[in-house]
C-alpha cells in the first residue's frame, strides 16, 4: 500500500558499545552474591535446589518466549517488529548457556539424587514405600502399574539425553536467526531474510515439540503422577508473556541510556503492550482451562496438585499457598487485564516500564507457585496425603536467588550483545518498521 520509506538508522548509538565490559562483571557479582546468599541462608541443599529451580524455570521460559517471538515474526513476515527483533534474538540466544545453569540440578540427578525429582529412584511409587506399593498392586488387578509405564519416560538417562537435545536444538535455532541477522547487518543481502522465513516454518514445529516435552520435564515431572495435557500451553503462555515484558523492559532501558533512541517508537511499544495484554488474557484463559477441567472431573490423581495449592490441608489449616493462588488470580490476571486495557496506558513508556517489571515479578511468582509446593509436599509428607503440607516461602532465600538469577540474565545478555548492533541495520523491512503506525 505504502511505499516503505528508505530505511535509515538515525540514532547516534545503536549498541552497548564498551559498556558491556563493565556490565558483565557487575551483573556477575550481583549473581554470585544473590545465589550465594540463597545457598548460605537456605542451609539445606534440597531447599536451595528448589529455590534455584524456580528461578531457573522463570528465566528458561523467558528465553524460550524470546525464541518463539523471533520464529513467529519470521513466520508471519512481520514488518512492525523488526526494530525490537534483535533484542528478542539475543534473549533467544541465551537458551544455549542456560544449559550450564541447569547443571546444578542435572548433575546430582544423573548421580542418582531424588532430592528434586522424586521419580529418580529405583521403584519410586505413588503408593509410598515398596511394601505398601506391593500391597496396593496385589489388591488392584490392573495391568501394568502406572509407575512402570511412566518410568519408560521418566528415567535419568532418557531425561539427561532429552535435556542435551533440547538445549542443542534451541541453541542451534537461536544461532541460526541471530547469526544470519548479524550477517545481514554486514552484507545487506535480502535473500537472508527469505532464508530465515523459509526455515522458520519447520522450526516452529520443532520448537513446539521441544517446548511441550521440556515443560513436562522441567516442572511437571516434579509431581510425576499428575496428569495435565494443558500444561505445555500454560507454560508457553507465561513464557511468551514474560518474553514480551523483557523485550519491553530492555528496549526502555536501552533508550533511557541513550541507545536506539530513534528506531523504537511509541508505536512499537503500543504493539508490545497490546501483545502483553493479549497474553495476560491468554495466560488466564489457559490457567483457568487447566483448573476447570481438573476441578470439574474431580479425579483424585489430578485434583491433588491443585488441592495442595488451593485447599487448606487436611487438618483444616491454611498453609499459605492459598495466598499465592489468590495473588496469581488477581495479580497475574485481573489487575493487569484492567490496567493494560486502555490505549493511552499502552502508549505510555513510563507505564509500560512498570507493567513489564510487575509482570516479570508475577511470572516468577507463577513459577514459585508451581515448583515450591512440591518441596513442601516432599518435606512434610514423603508418603501419603498432604495432611500437614507446610508453607516454605522464605524471602531471605528466594528473593536473593531471584535477584541473582536476574544478574545472570543481564550478564548473559551483555555477553551475547557485546558491541553488536541492537537493531537489524539492513533488514529489508526496517523501513516498514520505522514508518509503522497504529491506526
Amino acid at each position: 500500500m505504502h511505499e516503505a520509506p528508505p530505511a535509515k538508522i538515525t540514532s547516534p548509538v545503536v549498541s552497548l558499545k564498551d559498556n558491556y565490559v563493565r556490565l558483565i562483571p557487575v551483573s556477575l557479582i550481583v549473581a554470585a552474591a544473590g545465589i550465594g546468599t540463597a545457598l548460605l541462608l537456605s542451609m539445606d541443599m534440597q531447599r536451595f535446589s528448589f529455590a534455584y529451580l524456580t528461578c531457573f524455570c522463570t528465566l528458561m521460559s523467558l528465553c524460550l518466549g524470546g525464541l518463539f517471538f523471533v520464529i513467529v515474526m519470521h513466520l508471519t513476515r512481520a514488518g512492525w517488529s523488526v526494530t525490537v527483533r534483535r533484542i528478542a534474538e539475543i534473549i533467544a540466544m541465551c537458551t544455549l548457556p542456560m544449559f550450564v545453569l541447569y547443571l546444578p540440578i542435572l548433575i546430582p540427578l544423573m548421580m542418582g539424587s531424588d532430592e528434586v525429582y522424586i521419580w529418580n529412584v529405583e521403584g519410586w511409587s505413588i503408593h509410598g514405600d515398596a511394601e505398601h506399593k506391593a500391597k496396593v498392586l496385589a489388591e488392584a488387578d490392573y495391568p501394568p502399574p502406572i509407575e512402570e509405564l511412566k518410568a519408560m519416560y521418566l528415567n535419568r538417562w532418557f531425561f539427561g539425553g532429552r535435556m542435551v537435545a533440547y538445549f542443542l536444538i534451541w541453541g542451534a535455532m537461536a544461532w541460526f536467526f541471530l547469526g544470519n541477522s548479524l550477517k545481514q547487518d554486514r552484507t545487506g543481502d535480502k535473500q537472508i531474510t527469505a532464508k530465515m522465513q523459509k526455515h522458520s516454518t519447520w522450526m516452529m514445529i520443532v520448537f513446539a515439540a521441544t517446548l511441550v516435552f521440556s515443560s513436562f520435564d522441567f516442572e511437571m515431572s516434579l509431581a510425576p503422577f499428575w496428569f495435565s495435557t494443558m500444561w505445555p500451553v500454560y507454560f508457553f503462555a507465561g513464557s511468551m508473556l514474560s518474553a514480551l515484558a523483557t523485550i519491553t523492559l530492555i528496549a526502555i532501558c536501552l533508550q533511557r541510556t541513550g541507545r536506539v533512541t530513534d528506531e523504537i517508537t511509541v508505536e512499537h511499544y503500543h504493539d508490545l503492550g497490546k501483545l502483553m495484554f493479549s497474553f495476560v488474557v491468554f495466560w488466564g484463559y489457559i490457567a483457568f482451562s487447566q483448573f476447570l477441567l481438573i476441578w470439574y472431573a474431580n479425579i483424585p490423581e489430578e485434583t491433588f496438585w491443585f488441592a495442595w495449592r488451593i485447599n487448606p490441608n487436611s487438618e483444616g489449616v491454611m498453609t499459605g499457598w492459598q495466598w499465592f493462588s489468590l495473588v496469581l488470580l488477581f495479580g497475574h490476571l485481573l489487575i493487569p487485564l484492567l490496567a493494560l486495557m486502555a490505549r493511552t496506558v499502552r502508549r505510555s513508556k513510563n507505564f509500560l516500564l512498570y507493567a513489564a517489571i510487575y509482570l516479570l515479578i508475577m511470572h516468577w511468582i507463577d513459577h514459585y507457585w508451581i515448583v515450591m509446593p512440591q518441596y513442601s509436599e516432599m518435606v512434610s509428607h514423603p508418603v501419603g496425603p498432604a495432611a500437614g503440607l507446610a508453607f516454605h516461602f522464605n524471602p531471605l532465600v528466594d528473593i536473593p536467588c531471584a535477584i541473582g538469577m536476574a544478574g545472570v540474565f543481564v550478564a548473559l545478555f551483555c555477553l551475547i550483545a557485546r558491541d553488536r548492533p541492537l537493531v537489524p541495520l539492513k533488514d529489508p523491512r526496517l523501513g516498514e518498521a520505522l514508518a509503522h503506525h497504529n491506526p
Binding site: H2, D141, F288, F291, L292, W295, Y296, M341, H437
Partner: protein, 468 residues
Amino acid sequence: MTDKQNQEMEDQKLLGLLAQFEDPNTLIKACNEARESGYKKIDAFSPFPVHGIDPALGIPRTILPFFVLIIGLTGCAVGLGMQYYANAADWSSLFPGYNFMISGKPFFSLPANIPVTFEVVILSSAIATFLGMWALNRLPRLANPLHRISRFKRVTNDKFFLLIETKDPKFSREQTESELNQWGASAIEEVNEDLTDQQLPSWLQLVGLMTALILLIPPVLIFRAEGMTNRKPRLHVVPDMDWQDKYKTQTMAPNLGDEKHPVYLFVDGRAMQEPIPGTIARGDLDTDSEYYRGIKSGTDSFATLHSAGARTGLQDAAPQEPSDQDTPAAESSAEPAEPDWVTQFPPNVTVDQALLERGQQRFNIYCSVCHGYAGNGDGLVNVRAMALAASGQATWTAAKSLNEPEVIKNPVGRIFDTISNGRGTMGPYKSQIPVEDRWAIVAYVRALQGTGLKPEGVTKADEDTVEE
C-alpha cells in the same frame, strides 16, 4: 442552466459543497487546511484507508470501546446473575429460583459458572461493537444525497473527496468554494437535499412481504401439528442426548477388559458405589433429635432409632393381619419401649399464624383424604373404602379420628413420628413432606384438636404452644 432550473436548485436545500481531489496527499493537506481555518462539519472520502486522515479531519477517537466495555461488564453481571438465579436463587415467592439439590453438589460454585459468564461477555461485547458501530455511523441509511452526484461514483476507484456541510457555522457558499479551489480541488459540486420519493423501493417492499410470509410458516406448522395425531416415532435431532452412554444405578458395569483381566469401572463391578461407611450425604446429618425425630435429645440411642424405624410399617402392620391376631401377647412383649417423645415443639419451630396456615394447607393435601378436613376420620378415601369393606370388596382399617382422647393424649413428638414413619396401616410420609412441613402439620393437628372435642389429658403446655 436556465433560470427555471436555477430556481429549482435554489428551492432545494443546499447540504454542502463536495470538492474532488486527485491524490491522497492533496486531500490530507486540504483536510488540514479546512480544520485549521475553523471548519467543523467536514468529512473526507477515499477509495482506501488513508493514514493520518483522522487527525487531519480533527475527528476525536471513537467512544465505541467504552460503550463496549460497559456492555461487556453488564453482560458479565447478567451472565453470572442468570446462572445464580437458575441454580441457587431462593428468593421471594414471585421469583423463587431453582435451588434444587442435585447429587449433593453445592447450589452455586463460581468455577463452573465462569465459562458461560465468559461467553456472555464475549457475545454481548461483539453485539455491542456491531450495533454500536452502526449506531455511531447512523446506519442503516437507505439513501445518501452524495450518491446522486455522478462524479462521486469514482470515490470507489481513483478520486478523493472532501465535504463541507452547510451546517458548519463558518460555511458560506462563495467563500468556502474559493477556499476549496485554493486548497487544490479539481472540481466542486453542490450537494442538495434529496427530494426524490423517500418511500421504500418497491422491490424491497416485496422482499419484506415475502420474508414476513416465510416467517409465518413455522408457527403455522406448529399449530397444525398440535391439532394432529402422529403415530410415527419422533425425530431425534440430537441422538446422543436421547440415548446417552451411561450406566444405570444398581446394575453391573460391563467388563471392559478380557476374561483373564477383567476391568470394571469399579473394582467390585458395580456401576455405582455404595456410600462410604461412616459418611452421611450432604444435608442428611440429622443430629438434632428433637427436630428430626421428635425424640428428646440424649435418649435416642442408635438402638431406639432402629427400633423406631423398624417398628414402622412392618411390625405395627402385623397385628392387623388375621394370622397374627392369635398371638397378641407375644406381639406386645416384642413391642419395644416407646421412645421419650418430646412434649413441646422443638426450639427451632416457631408456632405462629404462618406455620398454622402452612400446616393447614399441607394437612388438606396429604392428610384430609383419609382423616377428613376436620380430622374426624371422615375423609373421602376412608368413607369410600369403608363402604367397600362393608360389602366385603376390600379390607380396610378405618382412619383414626384425630380428635379422639387417646390421640390427643399423644405428645407432639409421637404425632410427628406417626407422620414421618407411619403407624398401623398408615404409611410413612417423610419422603414426601419436608421436616418443617411435618411440624407445621403437627401444629395444625393440635389446633384442630383444640377446636374439636375438649378431651381430658391434654397438657396445658401443648395448648399454650399452639396458641402462641
